[in-house]
């Protein structure tokens, strides 16, 4: 059986990655957060967070708005409805897979 034919093949790898799962979970609990807040909540470094947010934005799981507040750049991140759906699907798939595992 090739890896693509296993029950795990349908799991969204973009969500499955722990750091991104953490980011999406935090964002799913709130309406919006800025870069600093997400850095503190997830414990990720600036570079790591930026990279993960870039991937989530490319998949349209998050919306990133950049604005200037008193000449200081400010990044506000929101989860999209597509991102919420992906997280929900991931939860259902993982629950289903884990339930079938032998004890």
């Amino acid at each position: 059986m090739s890896p693509d034919e296993t029950p795990f093949a349908e799991i969204d790898r973009l969500v499955h990655e722990p750091a991104r799962l953490h980011i999406l979970t935090v964002l799913s609990l709130i309406e919006a957060a800025d870069f600093l807040f997400l850095m503190r909540q997830t414990g990720l470094t600036k570079g790591n967070l930026s990279s993960h947010l870039g991937k989530l934005e490319a998949a349209r799981y998050v919306d990133i708005e950049k604005e200037f507040v008193e000449k200081i750049p400010h990044t506000v991140v929101k989860i999209t409805s597509r991102g919420r759906e992906a997280l929900q699907t991931y939860r259902q798939q993982m629950t289903g897979v884990l339930k079938k595992l032998p004890k």
């Binding site: 722990p18 919006a32 800025d34 870069f35 807040f37 503190r40 990044t75």
Partner: protein
């Protein structure tokens, strides 16, 4: 990275982050002290102006001191609804007090009513702090709920001549406590959370 990914812990962390600065307690303290002063001096117009500007002041303080340290976050509509319910409850309580005050002005039980009026803000405060305690898990919110309630029950036993004196006394009791407690929390927050906004630009 925090290994715990369950959403209840994450939600609690968010609420703790939002309330650890002590700003709410500090502003409540200022608000109660001002209200107490306005009740005693009958300067209600100034009170209304300050009341209207209070959310703006709170927002400015957060922008200046809190967000550069811990970042900015906005709760979802679902979590903001309880706040609206609290505001609605406060308005309902205010309306009830106003109506009872109008009708009770000439009746005999008016004195008893005015004596026990501090119980209304005490119950509202206790409910608010219990809600906060449930969300954050901070023991200090339980302590504040208990303190608000105990003060609300204790103040009516003080014999004061004026009708609104008991309410004013209640506000003068809880106001400074909240203010000092909030200020201590705020100072600690400022010391333990240096400005980090520059790191993220």
């Amino acid at each position: 990275m925090d290994a715990n990914l369950d959403s209840k812990t994450l939600a609690r962390n968010l609420w703790q982050d939002r309330t650890r600065d002590g700003l709410l307690e500090m502003l409540l303290g200022v608000y109660f002290l001002l209200t107490g002063i306005f009740i005693q001096t009958n300067v209600t117009s100034l009170f209304t102006v300050i009341l209207a500007f209070f959310p703006v002041i709170a927002n400015k303080v957060q922008e200046r001191f809190v967000y550069p340290r811990i970042g900015y976050m906005r709760f979802s509509h679902q979590d903001r609804n309880p706040g609206r319910r609290i505001v609605a409850a406060l308005l309902a309580a205010g309306l009830a007090v106003a109506l009872v005050t109008i009708f009770a002005r000439s009746s005999e039980w008016a004195e008893t009513f005015y004596k026990w009026v501090p119980l209304i803000p005490a119950l509202l405060l206790a409910a608010g702090f219990l809600f906060a305690a449930q969300k954050t898990g901070f023991a200090r919110h339980y302590v504040m709920a208990a303190f608000s309630l105990v003060a609300g029950f204790a103040v009516p036993f003080v014999d004061l001549p004026g009708r609104m004196d008991n309410v004013a006394l209640y506000l003068f009791v809880v106001g400074p406590v909240f203010l000092v407690w909030g200020a201590a929390l705020f100072i600690r927050f400022m010391r333990t959370h240096p400005i980090r906004a520059e790191e993220t630009q």
